[in-house]
């Protein structure tokens, strides 16, 4: 065991980073994309009209209610999502019918349903951030919890290990091989340190009910009923109301909305849920927007569905403990952020992703240099990590581009197209890992950067060939979601192309200096043998 506190922390930092580095990279990539989930959703359903910015909550609820009443009057539960901000761009209705099946529809400004291609969209990418894919929920929950905790240990040990954290604060020395990779890893981490610590710790808070269940048992006793009562007390759930069987007309919703707007501010309604519409025991839940800050709860009002009487009101703010949890969750999701703050979130998220990538690459550069200086060939571990790095650091992004391409290329009415978009993504990732396995690392980096450049630049092209909402059209219409998406694809593709260009003709990752020294030493040891 290494002696010295700092050295042992360095050892722990290296191993925690290495063992789960690729999973954490996946989590950071999907987290970054998940932050843009609504924008990606909209790009992946080009049939939907641009955001319904001008719809007031009252109009949205009226249109929604009219459609639901006309089409699914017998449903057990209606939900109307009001297009209030960036997070809910369309008027969307959800309902649960008599068979407990859930279904949804988007309505346009006139209250007419809009058909859009079935897709997982950005939400699917967002969900992969904590649910991965193809794996059962109980397993991924624990895996993500463990990965998040390991990340936290990696961050703390990283700070402890970084002796010159202030001295090297502004330092980046390029073209120096291992030194440069270390500088990059340090700079990316330190300059976004508050965000990385926050995002990791709040990630733990997200998972804490799952991975620390003994604390619920300690205070409530074991078993499901005890757990239920804990959740009811924390989330201030109102008791479920069963249908009475007596039909009764649903109260007019407009005055209820007006009452809620009077309390919370005009336009600050996020969604309306109606339980047992048409029954004497109907209930109308009106929910406000998340409070204008990191506190990730919204106020709510519950009305009697027949008389319109206000039965129950729930404030957004609760006890200190609950608010602390909600602030952590709110900071993690960053949904309260306006455009400039969203840019900061994205910058930090990308820095975090690059922090992991540079860490993984640094490990291989360091080991490779050590092996070369001893004149040894490739050790299996290093060779494996080098190739996993290529296939993941570049390959995963290629897979994301393929996901977007699949969205445009799979026919809109193809059965199960949403699942196949995801299959395409993971098949592409698998292909990139296989490619990385078959090529030398240097070739792998170069070639996959070229593939990435082609794949990303192809996205706006395929968009133009398969839909009307291509870049020129979007710019002309001022549709910044579509234009921004296409431009981001081009920017990513050009970045990949630039890296590929920089890597052309480079035999390996080491700097010239150490390679000459390594060759000299190897020749010396060869000539010294009998």
């Amino acid at each position: 065991m290494k002696d010295g506190f700092r050295q042992s922390m360095a050892w722990l930092h290296t191993w925690t980073g290495l063992v789960l580095g690729w999973l954490l990279y996946f989590i950071f990539v999907t987290g970054t994309l998940g932050y843009l989930d609504t924008e990606i959703d909209r790009w992946m359903q080009p049939e939907l009209p641009p955001a319904a910015d001008n719809m007031t909550p009252t109009r949205a609820v009226t249109l929604g209610h009219d459609w639901l009443q006309a089409n699914v009057a017998s449903a057990k539960e209606w939900n109307i999502l009001v297009p209030s901000d960036r997070n809910i761009p369309q008027l969307r209705l959800y309902w649960r019918d008599t068979d407990n099946e859930r279904d949804s529809v988007n309505l346009d400004a006139a209250g007419e349903p809009v058909a859009a291609r079935d897709t997982g969209g950005g939400q699917r990418l967002y969900r992969m951030h904590w649910q991965l894919h193809y794996l059962p929920g109980w397993f991924t929950g624990w895996l993500i919890s463990i990965a998040t905790f390991v990340m936290f240990v990696a961050m703390v040990t990283g700070v402890i290990t970084h002796k010159k954290i202030f001295k090297d604060f502004f330092t980046f020395r390029p073209y120096k091989g291992q030194r440069s990779w270390l500088d990059a890893h340090n700079a990316l981490s330190v300059l976004s340190l508050p965000f990385q610590l926050m995002i990791t710790y709040s990630g733990l808070v997200f998972m804490m009910f799952l991975c620390m269940p003994l604390l619920i048992s300690a205070f409530y006793g074991g078993g499901e009923a005890a757990e239920e009562s804990f959740f009811d007390e924390v989330f201030l759930e109102e008791p479920e109301v069963t249908p009475s069987g007596e039909p009764a007309a649903l109260v007019d919703l407009a005055p209820l909305i007006a009452q809620a707007e009077a309390r919370w501010g005009a336009g600050r309604i996020s969604h309306v849920g109606i339980k047992q519409p048409g029954d004497a025991n109907a209930r109308v839940h009106v929910n406000g927007l998340y409070s204008a800050g990191p506190l990730r709860t919204s106020p709510g009002m519950t009305f009697d569905g027949v008389t319109g009487e206000l039965l129950h009101e729930r404030a957004a703010s609760g006890t200190v403990a609950r608010n602390t949890r909600d602030v952590f969750l709110g900071l993690h999701e960053g949904m309260f952020a306006g455009p400039l703050l969203r840019f900061f979130y994205l910058l930090s998220s990308v820095m975090g992703t690059a922090m992991i990538a540079t860490g993984l690459i640094l490990w291989t550069v360091k080991r490779r240099q050590k092996l070369d200086s001893k004149g040894e060939g490739a050790a299996l571990g290093v060779a494996l990590v080098e190739r996993l790095n290529v296939g993941t650091v570049v390959g995963l992004n290629i897979a994301v581009a393929v996901y977007f391409l699949a969205n445009r290329l799979i026919p809109a009415d193809f059965e199960g197209r949403a699942d196949w978009e995801v299959h395409a993504m993971f098949l592409a990732w698998a292909a990139m890992l296989i490619h990385a396995g078959l090529r030398s690392p240097a070739q792998g980096w170069r070639e996959q950067c070229v593939i990435a450049a082609v794949a990303f630049c192809a996205v706006p092209v395929v968009n133009a060939l398969t839909t009307e909402r291509h870049l020129v059209h979007s710019l002309a219409m001022g549709d910044w979601v579509f234009a921004g998406f296409d431009l981001a694809m081009i920017a990513t593709g050009l970045t990949a192309a630039a890296v590929a260009f920089y890597l052309r003709g480079k035999p390996a990752e080491q700097p010239a200096g150490s390679r000459r020294a390594a060759n000299r030493r190897r020749d010396a040891s060869v000539s010294a043998r009998p």
Binding site: K167, F169, F170, T171, F172, R173, P174, A187, L191, S192, P194, F195, A292, G293, P294, L295, V327, L331, F336, A337, L340, L341, F343, F344, Y345, L347, S348, M351
Partner: protein
């Protein structure tokens, strides 16, 4: 008022980090190679000024966004300006080689 305050916060953070960088011998050599190394008093003063400017940008952010969002935004602003300085110093160092 808000764009002005925001610009001021960005500028304060930029200037603050600039002074903190300049106070370091390594970066003084890159930015002002002609000068002699700072005296300890000068270095301390620069560091103090740098920290005060960073603190000033915090209050600017709070002024733009309010307390809770402002505090969050401040960290992002700092990251952005710190990254900008790393880029500048790297380019300067490469030019001088």
């Amino acid at each position: 008022m808000t764009p002005l305050l925001l610009t001021a916060s960005l500028a304060a953070a930029g200037a603050g980090f600039g002074l903190l960088a300049l106070a370091m011998e390594r970066h003084r050599k890159q930015l002002m190679p002609a000068r002699r190394p700072w005296a300890p008093g000068q270095r301390g003063l620069m560091r103090l000024a740098g920290v005060l400017l960073l603190g000033g940008s915090f209050f600017g952010c709070v002024g733009v966004w309010g307390a809770s969002i402002g505090a969050t935004a401040w960290f992002g602003l700092l990251s952005l300006m710190a990254v900008a300085w790393v880029a500048v110093l790297t380019v300067v160092a490469l030019r001088r080689r």
